[in-house]
Symmetry: C2
Subunit: 200 residues, 2 copies
């Protein structure tokens, strides 16, 4: 909410009260509390991002691989959340969070929630559990890096394009961190000869 | 610290004070504060895990791939942290954390710190930035899943064995979430034809 961010920037996060925020936003206190349990949740409230990711994955074509489904979800984020008009807002939100350990902790937990939502949505497509978790981690990492790049104010590209490029790079980096002889694997994962090498 | 966990279990986390913990552990209050800023940090304090992971990666053979270096780090965790004697302790710690949103947030941030430490240690080996971040995420996911499996009290395997098997599975799952035609990539990541397919 812009009113809250303005106040956090002007007075500091600690010195801003719920009453200040409600007043600035033209809300009564009780309306505020209908949406948020406290001032902190103004920065984290709502499940917009989680919903966008889950819906995006569900809407991907049946034939999409896990990472293609993730790409679909990232498109939805670019279309409905990280729009050009929201770039300044999200960058300011990030600056407030970066300045407070308590908010960083909350943000970290929110990140785990997003990853879990991605994994759940993939499992609902019938993707195997572990593959869902791995693809979700790669998707969450892509979202994070793409966000870092997109929120750089010298960058004028749209989020969707940044995310597509980033996913492609994460994808290639993932392949390059795997030894070439693993990956044929359908069904049971074969024990990796590379990991075996270190074992003895 | 066992004394703190005992008290958290008996009285509840909220009802336990630093003085209670110091007394039970046979420490003066000021000695307690030399080690921990508050009672919460008893559960998170210390950089043992971060140090073990970073040192393990640094000690891997020069020829090790990023994920082989991660395997090395997981061995170190099994050798020096998640020992059989510590299994009950870590399970109890986890139970306290699971019961408190505030502690889950702190734990989430600690998880990000571990991932960042893995990525830093890989970069110091000369691994490219993005590959370091991807391998670190896969390593952190492996640590998390292996921990879940190992802390299941019906499981009597040693952490190192559990972690090796898990890394091998994460590895195979990672390969299976990637289309087969990416991964030759040395140097610049090629744009993925699979991602391109969705773009139009």
């Amino acid at each position: 909410m812009v009113a809250a961010l303005d106040l956090f920037a002007q007075r500091g996060y600690e010195n801003t009260t719920v009453i200040d925020i409600a007043e600035r936003a033209g809300l009564t206190k009780s309306t505020f509390f209908r949406y948020f349990p406290d001032k902190r949740e103004v920065l984290f409230g709502g499940d917009t991002m989680t919903d966008l990711l889950a819906t995006g994955i569900a809407a991907a074509p049946v034939t999409a691989t896990p990472l293609e489904a993730v790409a679909h979800a990232l498109d939805a984020v670019g279309r409905d959340a990280f729009t050009p008009a929201r770039r300044a807002f999200t960058a300011r939100r990030q600056a407030v969070i970066a300045a407070h350990a308590e908010l960083q902790e909350r943000e970290a937990l929110k990140g785990l929630g997003l990853t879990a939502a991605l994994a759940d949505a993939l499992r609902r497509r019938g993707v195997a559990d572990l593959t869902s978790r791995v693809a979700a981690e790669l998707g969450a990492l892509t979202l994070k890096i793409a966000y870092e790049r997109w929120s750089d104010t010298t960058n004028t590209d749209e989020f969707t394009d940044v995310a597509r490029r980033t996913l492609s790079e994460v994808h290639a980096a993932s392949a390059s961190s795997l030894p070439a002889d693993v990956g044929s694997g359908e069904g049971r994962p074969a024990p990796s000869p590379v990991l075996g090498r270190l074992r003895g």
